[in-house]
């Protein structure tokens, strides 16, 4: 597309150049042709004058040489006239034809004149001399007229050439400037095009990488509960089981089904958050209470990770969605436990001031490399290292946390000392009109949907 336009511009410039050169050449050729014709006219005129004097000389002082010169002069006139015919066009051919005929008569008259002179017939000599003089003047007049006309043509041709070349002189730089500007524009367009193409390719590459990661996460995370569901249901179908065994396996299937449902709802949640379809709920939220409940829950399932609570009693009741807030706390807490494979305390802390409520979750696990601190909040971007490869996860937990926190205009970020643990901070701003957190009803402002 671009190379085609480029070829077009080059072609136009070349065409213009050829046209300019051709026009100029045409005018020069025409002018040169008319000038040559003028030359022939003056040659014919000179031949005519010479002819007249040769005729008169031969008449007055007849001799063998003079009669020969007389014939030669006649021939010269005829030759000069034929040259005009040869160089000229249709009009010149007509003129030459007339002149040749007149010259023939002129010759004949001189022949009669010579006879009368030899016979001493003065009356006849005078008469014939008048006729010869008349024909001579007609011929000269015709020639002079043609010459004059030719001169006019030469002048107008040169004037036209001058006019035309001046036009070309003005137009040429304009055309070349436009051509250059077009080329420059094209080149810039090409550059921009290239840059945007590279950006698009990078984006596609990133997307396909994410997709690949998604597929591998899904294939792994979905297959584990599916194995339970398939295995237990097959045994219930094919084997003779007691009722308690049946109940037990049904419970296992149920647990796996819940796990699958959670995975799917996490994925859908994230999709909905990312497409802006989720609206913020407006219910009272007791952050300390949510933390306490979560701690109780996790103490049961993760005994090797003591959960320490440090709650600020002045944290005001927030307005939001308790389920979403629970999701934030649960995801952060399960991450803290998951990425502390060798155990260690997990500390949950709340603090509040006039401007905001802050929640921190601190673990003593493997930590996060500094350059990954932001990346972990991106979808499916689990850190792939020797330390994390045996820890299973979907890479959905932190992106969901960030989306929920964003929904309530809060901020979430991580700090870490690799090898010594990580701290996740969540900060919810309080509206400026709340005088003090303990007074009135400070609320989380929900973003307009």
């Amino acid at each position: 597309m671009v190379s085609l336009s480029l070829a077009g511009v080059v072609l136009c410039l070349a065409g213009f150049s050829i046209f300019a050169a051709y026009t100029t050449q045409m005018h020069v050729d025409e002018a040169r042709q008319i000038a040559t014709l003028q030359e022939s006219y003056s040659k014919a005129n000179a031949a005519l004058l010479e002819d007249e004097s040769a005729q008169l000389e031969a008449l007055v002082f007849p001799s063998a040489e003079r009669i020969a010169a007389q014939d030669q002069a006649h021939e010269n006139v005829a030759a000069a006239l034929r040259e005009i015919a040869a160089r000229g066009g249709q009009g010149e051919a007509q003129l030459v034809n007339d002149l040749l005929r007149l010259h023939e008569q002129y010759r004949d008259v001189y022949a009669v004149l010579a006879t009368a002179a030899a016979a001493g017939d003065q009356v006849e000599v005078r008469r014939q001399d008048g006729v010869a003089d008349g024909i001579f003047h007609i011929m000269r007049n015709r020639l002079a007229l043609a010459t004059e006309q030719g001169q006019v043509e030469v002048d107008s041709s040169f004037a036209a050439l001058h006019e035309r070349t001046r036009w070309l002189l003005i137009l040429a730089p304009v055309v070349f400037a436009i051509g250059f500007a077009l080329l420059l524009g094209l080149w810039r367009m090409l550059e921009r095009h290239n840059r945007s193409t590279r950006a698009i390719y990078a984006e596609i590459e990133q997307l396909s990488k994410l997709r690949g990661e998604f597929v591998s996460v899904v294939s792994h995370e979905f297959r584990t509960p599916l194995t339970g569901i398939q295995g237990f249901s097959e045994m219930m179908r094919d084997e003779d089981l007691t009722l308690p065994e049946m109940r037990e396996y049904a419970g296992d299937i149920h647990k796996d089904a819940l796990r699958l449902a959670r995975l799917i709802s996490d994925m859908l949640d994230l999709d909905r958050f990312e497409s802006g379809l989720t609206t913020a709920g407006h219910f009272p939220v007791d952050l300390n209470r949510i933390l306490t409940d979560a701690a109780v829950q996790f103490r049961l399932s993760a005994a090797s990770h003591p959960i320490v609570l440090e709650l600020d009693e002045r944290v005001p009741t927030l307005i939001g969605d308790p389920d979403r807030m629970t999701q934030v706390v649960t995801n952060l807490l399960s991450n803290a436990i998951k990425y502390s494979p060798s155990g260690g305390a997990v500390e949950l802390r709340t603090t509040s001031d006039k401007a905001a409520v802050t929640l921190t979750v601190r673990d003593h696990g493997i930590g996060i490399p500094t350059e990954q601190l932001e990346k972990i909040f991106e979808r499916y971007s689990r850190i792939e290292t020797k330390a994390t490869q045996s820890i299973k996860g979907t890479g959905l937990g932190l992106p969901i946390v960030r989306q929920i926190v964003n929904l309530y205009e809060g901020k979430v970020w991580a700090t870490s000392e690799p090898g010594a643990g990580s701290v996740f901070h969540v900060r919810f701003p309080l509206p400026a009109d709340s005088v003090a957190p303990t007074v009135g009803q400070p609320r989380l402002r929900a973003r307009a949907a």
Binding site: S216, S219, H220, R223, T224, P225, L226, T227, G228, I229, Q230, G231, F232, E234, M235, D238, E239, Y249, D252, K255, D256, P341, Q389, S390, I391, K392
Partner: protein
């Protein structure tokens, strides 16, 4: 009647294995990762090893390498249970001279049949032909 060591970190799947094998005459031992599995294998070499790929501390491939490195254990067939039977994974397993592959989710009967085939020493089909 054979002795089989299973290595699997997911509790649910360990339970599926345990219940599936109850009906058979085989003696089974379950380990939660490769390291503990290797300890069980070294203590009393089994007739067959069944292992998951992704596990903490020592994964399935590292376990296979460790087993192949011990002359006394080299001949024990290994059945890998993988979440993704992708070409790349299969090629990686092939490089470890493994015996067979089973993809999750698997059926208890499928697991038992595969185990019986391996213990009987039946030749295994090339898994690459199936995934290509």
């Amino acid at each position: 009647m054979a002795r089989i060591v299973f290595c699997e970190d997911e509790e649910q799947i360990r339970k599926v294995i345990e219940v599936s094998m109850r009906a058979t005459a085989h003696t089974i031992e379950l380990a939660v990762n490769g390291r503990l599995g290797l300890a069980a294998i070294e203590r009393l070499p089994p007739d067959l090893i069944v292992t998951d790929l992704v596990m903490p501390e020592m994964d399935g491939l590292a376990l296979a390498e460790a087993v192949r490195a011990r002359p006394a254990l080299r001949q024990i067939p290994i059945l890998f249970i993988t979440a993704s039977l992708q070409r790349g994974v299969v090629l990686q397993l092939g490089a470890h001279g493994s015996a067979a592959y089973l993809a999750k989710p698997f059926s208890p009967r499928g697991l038992r049949e595969k185990i019986d085939e391996l213990i009987a020493g039946l030749p295994q089909a090339d898994p690459l032909a199936a995934t290509a």
